[in-house]
């Protein structure tokens, strides 16, 4: 599929063709590259970000776990683990509510992947972390508060 993609991209040039491949079902939308949710990543308010991610009415779920320190000494790099026990988890998004740009990452998982992601994020100050999980077209949410002693300046 990759080889075909290269060829098609060369022939057609750019995103339009890629979007067309998604539309025709050659490429599964959830896994497609180049499908960045620009509105979500540029969102400067939590509401805008959640709206752009289709998560304005997300259902709270106890099957999503956010592991983070209760108190983070250094907001420049806070270790974070998000796990989902929701069957057929396709996407995991991480939002940092108090940061200027709310959406830290949106992961699109293949079936081969265990739905647990470890990463490090910046936190400007004490904040809630939101984890969104998309499974079978529905979006679920969980939140956790992290106290930050020294903010990740400007993050």
């Amino acid at each position: 599929m990759d080889r075909r993609r290269r060829k098609v991209l060369k022939a057609g040039g750019g995103m339009g063709i890629w979007a067309a491949l998604v539309a025709t079902g050659i490429v599964a939308p959830a896994m497609a590259e180049g499908s960045r949710n620009v509105a979500a990543f540029e969102a400067r308010t939590l509401d805008e970000a959640l709206q752009a991610l289709g998560a304005a009415a997300a259902q709270d779920s106890g099957a999503i776990r956010i592991v983070a320190p209760d108190v983070a000494e250094d907001g420049r790099a806070v270790a974070l683990t998000v796990s989902s026990d929701i069957p057929r988890t396709e996407q995991i998004a991480i939002l940092i509510e108090e940061n200027p740009f709310k959406v830290a990452a949106n992961f699109r998982l293949s079936g081969a992947m265990t739905p647990t992601i470890h990463t490090r994020v910046k936190m400007a100050r004490t904040t809630r972390v939101h984890a969104l999980v998309k499974a079978e077209g529905r979006i679920y949410a969980a939140r956790r508060e992290v106290t930050v002693t020294v903010g990740g300046c400007g993050t």
Partner: protein, 103 residues
């Protein structure tokens, strides 16, 4: 020139555990330098991880991911000799791709 992505892969109980450290400043475009000048935004926007050519994880990043992004996760299955490729693209269009083979 950017530094290579450091990739570690270990086979454990029928799974492949992956850890990676990407070299990138991840500037959000809102910080100022010592002279009060705005440091331009410079961050990874897209990441893909492939195993033997098959896409296993695609991700979009914003600048709230830490400088020199760290990522760890695991994949079902795996064998010695599997090729793991990690590629990224940033907001300036720079790209980087690194590959390891599971030993």
């Amino acid at each position: 020139m950017t530094a290579p992505t450091r990739i570690r892969a270990t086979l454990k109980e029928g799974a492949t555990e992956l850890r990676m450290l990407l070299a990138h400043p991840m500037e959000n475009g809102l910080r100022k330098d010592a002279e009060g000048k705005l440091i331009p935004a410079h961050f990874i926007t897209e990441l893909s991880v492939r195993r033997n050519g098959e896409l296993v994880l695609a991700a979009d990043f914003g600048p709230s991911i830490s400088t020199n992004p760290y990522l760890a996760f695991s994949l079902a299955g795996g064998a010695v000799g599997d090729e793991i490729a990690v590629s990224w693209r940033d907001n300036r269009g720079e790209t980087r791709s690194d590959t390891i083979r599971i030993a």
